[in-house]
Point group: C2
Chain length 155, copies 2
């Protein structure tokens, strides 16, 4: 009887926990450390502030990315695609086999699934963009080789 | 013969078009008009700048949303979930059946799939947030009734 009551109590508590589980998670400002772009995936100084709460990262990888002048991603592709919202400065985006294109504050850029490309700051100006990469099978990017100085400086 | 050459030419041109199709689309700053929040889905003055390019909207509905003091969404749910990144001011978010919670610049909020909620500015301060709602079957939100003044002013 004591055992049954205890079991009933436990199950009530579990029910209560589920009923009161938070459906909204808040990650307060300044609690997530800035990440520096890893040398195998970036040239130059790149700082990334991940924007995530709860299990939001299951659906999209979201981050504010700050590129110093001359800094850029390596070549890469995305399994679903990536949206960039340029929030300051100006920079470049290039699809393999095409000319690089200038992007500036306020521009929105959509990179389709599977398109090999890089993005980063212009040579003389920094750039900051929000990046939203949609996730498929737990993955939001496939990284390739670094963008050489020759590739970066070509028009 | 002339017909065959014309057909070959057309097919070459089509091939060229496909080979050169842009895999990166850029929506330049200031080309997308601001939308005012519709009266059936919002109380008060709400301005939305959609951030989209190419067919990015198939995967996520992304927008910068500016709420005047007292302005708020109606109650609603999301089929996949929504990430909010507060970029200025402070406001409130509330899940049905729970107390409202304060959110401020820099906070990141994740609203899980199916959770009935609203978000908006505080009574005396405006709020601006980036909102990313993931899309399922062409849908990113299910709208319900407006948040009454009594609900908004309750703690």
């Amino acid at each position: 009887m004591r055992k049954n009551l205890a079991a009933a109590g436990a199950s009530l508590l579990m029910g209560a926990t589920v009923a009161h589980a938070q459906g909204i998670q808040i990650a307060p400002a300044g609690m997530t450390p800035t990440i520096l772009g890893a040398a195998q995936n970036f040239n130059g100084h790149v700082a990334v502030d991940i924007k995530a709460a709860g299990d939001s990262g299951k659906h999209g990888s979201v981050g504010m990315v700050d590129f110093a002048p001359g800094a850029r991603t390596a070549w890469h592709t995305h399994p679903v695609g990536q949206l960039l919202v340029v929030t300051s400065g100006n920079g470049w985006v290039q699809e393999e086999g095409r000319l690089r294109r200038e992007i500036r504050v306020g521009d929105v850029v959509w990179i389709e699934a599977g398109v090999k490309h890089w993005h980063g700051a212009a040579r003389t100006n920094g750039m900051r963009h929000l990046a939203i990469a949609y996730v498929q099978d737990g993955k939001s990017a496939d990284w390739k080789e670094l963008v050489s100085d020759e590739q970066y400086n070509a028009r």
